[in-house]
Amino acid sequence: MLSIKNLHASIEDKQILKGINLEVKPGEVHAIMGPNGSGKSTLASVLAGREDYEVTEGSIEFLGKDLLELEAEERAREGLFLAFQYPVEIPGVSSTNFLKTALNQIREHRGLDPLDAVSFLSLMKEKIKLVEIDKSLLNRSLNEGFSGGEKKRNEIFQMAMLEPRLAVLDETDSGLDIDALKVVANGVNTLKSKDNATIVVTHYQRLLDYIVPDFVHVLYNGKIVKSGPKELALELEEKGYDWIKEAEPIH
């Protein structure tokens, strides 16, 4: 589904990613862990198509397409979803209207008819339950005045509505209390299927108690220095990131 080969990326001439290799297949959950500044969020941003980053080397293939050739909106329509670390507040843009527009853009791209107001609302009702988001939030402007936890839930709610093939969760656990974390994890787990995949980017092992990964990758200094089964996360938690700083990069 996703094939990242020798990915190098920089921002303002500063090299952040220095040769990432990653293969993700449908049905898999990958966790990408690493200390601050290792390049985790850069990887998420490059996948989603943030223009501030320049890819200097390497390739990304997504569902048979060259991802780097696609604009951010085209990636979304192809089925890529980024849950933002810091979802932005957009005063004046209604959450509901925005989501309806987004969903219908994606449906159009998939050759489906747009949802009318009634079907859209019933779909919303169904998905609201999944992330236990307060319905009144969706009557407000997008993320405006939302708490940190509400913003993260709203990200997962949008993900549930848009049904992506590949979801990238960028530190979705940061700033969440344990109850919110469980709700977010439950949402992700419920949406999991054999056809879609998830990349969980996180600093802490805690989230992985609730979203169980098939693979754990450790990112350090712009490279994946260690990959392994879910137990690797526990080992990291125990030994700390200093442990991997001495490790050799894998290729």
Partner: protein, 444 residues
């Protein structure tokens, strides 16, 4: 018809025109009314046309633009032919209203739609109002719009002949909005027109008034309009000024508002079309517990220039004013916002707020914004702020990352930016009308 070109001194030309105009009045030149006109032309002679050194017109090269473009014809203003069908195309669709139609400043009885059964509501042409009620009209006319301060107000006053007269009796709630369609018809020739409106809202009365300025035809039109609005005690007025139609329009407008105690005046000024727009909005709060809400929105493109000059004068204690102007400027457009707030020594416990926010869509667009607060009282709450920026890249990326195309995301964000300037628009049909034109503009 006298042609003003670069070689002609505009100032001299106007003064000469006044002589011709005066002769055509056929003996009516001895009335009090005409004495006011004469004072006004003398003020104009003294004030002269503004140039770059004139503080209030520093960023608006109005004299240069007028010299290049226009023919003036005040002496024999006949109403150019415009059909009922053509007018109906210009009306706000679905709005049940009292419609006044002014063609080049002249009240058209035939095109207006004024079937008034409501007792105490008077909507007539300005000309017959001052002929039939000279004392009443005389006691308000030119008493508020100060012709000794602004040359365009002086000009309009000197040449004042026709326009709209509205009087709402005490305690009357007007059942429908009143729309003044002020049409500058310039299909065959350039026109310069000077409508004059007088609106008197009695004690405890309520009304919605829309001034809709429309430029019709391909030739240039210059409108120099003055509206005096008197809001008596505890009256409640919603006032809208629309500049939505006509790319080749040049507009100078002076809205002069006088509020008595406990009155409310809400205004929304929408500027979307026109080569040059200068809106002067002056609100005087002359007693306690007045409220004035002044909103404005301007969306500019190409070489458009819009200049909003606002003034709110707090003269007495316990009054409130709130001002919000928003602008989106693309192309080579230029904008000016100058917001004056005066709080007089007597006006303790005044609350006065002002905000001007702008988004520049291109490197060539520019805005000059200037808040100007002069406060003589010591127990007041006043604030002002101005921002100018670009579209927020992070917001744009967020929307695109959810599948919205770039153009769609931009329109959505710009609309969201603009929308709170419309919060005083309370008539649904009008709101849809404005919304529709904003959307067209933002999707361009």
């Amino acid at each position: 018809m006298t042609v003003a070109s670069n070689s002609i001194d505009l100032h001299k030309n106007f003064v000469e025109q006044f002589g011709i105009f005066e002769k055509e009045l056929n003996g009516k030149s001895l009335t009090d009314f005409h004495q006011t006109r004469k004072k006004a032309i003398r003020s104009f002679e003294q004030l002269g046309m503004p140039d770059r050194k004139t503080e209030n017109y520093k960023y608006t090269p109005i004299t240069r633009l007028l010299k290049k473009q226009f023919n003036f014809d005040y002496a024999s203003p006949g109403i150019p032919a415009i059909s009922k069908a053509a007018i109906s195309e210009l009306l706000i669709k679905g709005l049940d209203a009292y419609n006044v139609v002014l063609i080049n400043g002249r009240f058209s009885q035939e095109l207006s739609n004024l079937d008034i059964t409501l007792k105490g509501l008077e909507i007539t042409d300005f000309k017959s109002a001052y002929e039939s009620q000279p004392d009443l009209v005389g006691s308000y006319f030119a008493k508020y719009a100060e012709f000794d301060k602004d040359p365009f107000t002086a000009l309009n006053t000197a040449f004042s002949l026709d326009g709209t007269f509205i009087k709402v009796k005490d305690n009357l709630v007007v059942d429908k909005p009143i729309v003044i369609y002020s049409i500058a018809e310039s299909t065959a020739a350039n026109w310069a027109v000077q409508p004059r409106n007088l609106i008197i809202a009695g004690k405890n009365s309520q009304a919605s008034i829309i001034e809709n300025y429309i430029h019709h035809g391909n030739e240039a039109a210059f409108t120099n309009t003055v509206s005096e609005i008197i809001v008596d005690e505890n009256a409640y007025i919603d006032y809208y000024k629309l500049e939505i139609h006509g790319d080749n329009a040049y507009h100078v407008g002076n809205t002069q508002v006088y509020q008595a105690g406990k009155s409310t005046f809400n205004t929304t000024t929408i500027s979307l079309a026109g080569s040059l727009i200068r809106n002067n909005l002056n609100v005087v709060l002359d007693d306690e517990h007045c409220e004035a809400n002044m909103h404005g929105l301007y969306l500019l493109n190409d070489r458009q220039h819009v200049d909003n000059q606002t003034m709110v004068d707090h003269r007495k204690p316990h009054s409130y004013s709130n001002e919000l102007y928003k602008g989106i400027l693309g192309g080579n457009s230029t904008g000016v916002f100058n917001g004056k707030i005066y709080v007089r020594q007597d006006a303790q416990k005044t609350n006065a707020f002002q905000s001007n926010k702008n988004i520049l869509l291109s490197d060539e667009a520019s805005i000059n914004t200037k808040p100007q607060l002069e406060i003589w009282a010591d127990d007041v709450k006043c604030s002002h702020g101005a921002t100018t920026g670009q579209l927020d890249k992070e917001q744009l990326f967020y929307l695109r990352s959810r599948g919205l195309g770039e153009q769609e995301a931009r329109s959505l964000l710009l609309y969201a930016f603009a929308i709170d300037a419309l919060e005083n628009v309370k008539i649904d049909v009008l709101k849809e009308y404005i919304d529709h034109h904003i959307s067209i503009r933002l999707n361009r």
